[in-house]
Amino acid sequence: MNNMRNVEPLVTANTAKMTARKVQVYYGTTHAIKDVDVDILDKTVTAFIGPSGCGKSTFLRCLNRMNDTIAVCKVTGELKLEAEDIYDPRVDPVQLRAKVGMVFQKPNPFPKSIYDNVAYGPKIHGLTRNKAELDAIVEGCLKKAALWNEVKDRLDAPGTGLSGGQQQRLCIARAIATNPEVLLMDEPCSALDPIATAQVEELIDELRSQFSVVIVTHSMQQAARVSQKTAFFHLGNLVEYGETAQIFTNPKDPRTESYISGRIG
């Protein structure tokens, strides 16, 4: 299953969905992200790898302005979603997050029914006119998240009653229900067992046909399996960014090589 992905042709000619130029992030006086330039391509899985504390999650959270909730966090530089600056004062982060969805490290379904978990986003963004449309969205998203067959008979059951892997897929279904353009995933498999991880990875690969996916991961194998582009972060710097195959087989920077060969990190 995974071999197949490795021999896939590398994605080319994709336009940049999001672009970052000279992005700096400060937590108070700590300079957490330094001069990051990166292009997130459309319909591509981009993996952020790096040792703990290297800033990859911080940078990910800049992409949908989740860092706004942290009072001491300050972001400078240029971050654009399709040529529009997402840190422009006119941008409402709430509206941005409907376009740039997020899946978190720990599965965090709402303490509501499975149906309501998925329906919440479309409801608050007014994406549906009636119950039938909402039902269709819920069904579609649960199918895309490969969860439909497991939960279709118990949509009224609490989302928190599912297993960890199912919960994470429910969170993915919830994130794609608002029809985002970019899907950010912050270590989505770190709380899951290998079987659930494989399911989620398979799902990520399928989501690529519709969304631009950015995934932060601690597992280099996972990055190699699911991504086409990989960015290696170290101590707040973006050390190397390129085709996944190239990063893992022929890294240009000695730090990248040390990390993927297990000498640092």
Binding site: A71, Q95, G101, F110, Y120
Partner: protein
């Protein structure tokens, strides 16, 4: 392995079969700690039991009141001199007029039953009836003037000493020395009781009647204080819960974290520790002297209790909101919910059980609060019920704990019984409120 004897009780150094000296001390410390815990719980339960037993033994009897049931001839000449059964004109007849009617009927009762007690004059015999009896009869007749001219069976209270005799407060020996009651009167009461004329029915008037003067404890009821307490609780709940929850949500979720909000936070914590009587002084100065609201009214009492309860509710609500896991907020923000939607759709439902518990505990404290109400005049003797409309909150009223305090101060021992009875009613309301808290908590608590 070979050094361990077959019985397994080796004295080998470091053996896990033998507790080390340190281990023994640690276990002993734990045992001691458990013992302290059990002892303190046992002591508290014992004190609680003693308190409840005292209150119930003293107070339960107030729910029964000795009364004499006998036919009363409502002579038309005395009660309706004009003969047209007009209620307005009949109010001219005072309780003195009714007293005479009762006296005549009571004398007739004793004559018919053939009851005589040696050395007891007719006047003294009538004395076993309550001073309130004439008032009881007058209220009955004015409620239905058409009964004038007929003979009706009336149940009229005995006076508090006779009542006390059947409840064990008064004995033949104490009656000898008591100017208010004589042993002969007690003998008469015994005779009436033997014939089933004197009985001790459930005392509804204790729950529905108004307070009575020092001279007639048998007529004193809790009605006005219950109404006052209910009015106040409704107002306090309507004011406290929305204001407290809104303030908590703002402070916890929206307010910037700066020196001002720190200052507010410290002040809220301090306000929760301010003695309640200080709120009474504040209420007197602000609501009565400055705003000119009527004193003794439920509204002023409720406003004072609201001020007193708000800090408690805010602290409990903030704790409940803070206990909601941040991952839920992330999840909501992550799908593009606004701050407000995050709070109202996700945080608040999860915090609800904690908020409700805090709110109802705050209300329960307010229900039992006495000191601030004394200062705003709710300790006054109130004889008329507050109106059963919204305007009623401006009418003078008392509150249950204040009534307890008031009765406990009075000289007649019958009021001690009444006071304990009032405590039972107060405890009943507190138990109801706590039960509501538990039910609501269960209902809002999500087990998922």
């Amino acid at each position: 392995m070979t050094d361990i004897p077959a019985d397994g009780m080796a004295a080998r150094a470091g053996s896990i079969l033998v507790p080390s000296g340190l281990m023994k001390r640690r276990n002993a410390a734990e045992q001691r700690f458990r013992l302290y815990g059990v002892a303190s719980i046992a002591v508290s339960l014992a004190v609680l039991a003693i308190m409840l037993i005292t209150i119930f033994t003293d107070g339960l009897s107030s729910f029964r009141q000795s009364a004499i049931t006998f036919p009363v001839l409502l002579t038309a000449d005395a009660l309706d001199p004009d003969g047209n059964r007009d209620r307005a004109e009949m109010t001219d007849v005072t309780t003195i007029g009714y007293g005479k009617v009762i006296d005549a009927s009571f004398d007739a009762l004793l004559a018919v039953e053939g009851i005589t007690v040696e050395g007891l004059s007719e006047k003294d015999a009538r004395g076993i009836l309550s001073k309130e009896a004439a008032g009881q009869l007058r209220a009955r007749v004015l409620a239905d003037p058409s009964i004038v001219g007929t003979t009706i069976d009336m149940t009229l209270w005995t006076n508090a000493r006779i009542d006390g005799y059947f409840k064990g407060r008064v004995t033949m020996e104490t009656a000898e020395r008591d100017g208010n009651v004589s042993p002969e009167q007690l003998q008469l009461a015994d005779l009436l009781r033997d014939r089933g004329i004197l009985s001790q029915p459930f005392n509804w008037a204790f729950l529905t009647g108004s307070d009575a003067s020092d001279q007639r404890p048998e007529a004193a009821g809790l009605g006005i204080s219950i109404v006052g307490s209910i009015y106040m609780m409704i107002i306090v709940a309507l004011l406290c819960v929305p204001i407290g929850v809104a303030a908590s949500i703002y402070l916890e979720e929206f307010a910037p974290k700066n020196r001002w909000t720190d200052l507010i936070e410290v002040n809220i914590s301090n306000l929760a520790a301010v003695p309640s009587i200080v709120y009474g002084i504040l209420g007197l100065a602000v609501f009565i002297n400055f705003a000119g609201l009527p004193q003794s009214s439920s509204l002023v009492g409720a406003l004072v209790l609201t001020l007193m309860t708000l800090p408690t509710i805010i602290i409990a609500t903030r704790a409940a909101i803070r206990a909601v896991p941040p991952s839920i907020r992330d999840a909501a923000l992550g799908v593009g919910a606004s701050k407000m939607q995050t709070v109202f759709d996700h945080v608040l439902p999860l915090a609800m059980p904690g908020i409700l518990t805090g709110a109802i505990l705050g209300l329960a404290t307010a229900l039992g609060e006495t000191a601030p109400l004394l200062l705003i005049g709710m300790v006054a003797f109130v004889d008329n019920f507050p109106a059963a409309s919204v305007g009623g909150i401006l009418d003078p009223a008392t509150a249950l704990p204040v009534q307890v305090y008031g009765w406990a101060q009075r000289a007649d021992p019958a009021f001690i019984e009444r006071s304990s009875g009032a405590i039972i009613v107060l405890l009943f309301f507190l138990v109801i409120m706590n039960a509501v808290a538990i039910v609501l908590r269960r209902r809002f608590e999500r087990r998922w």
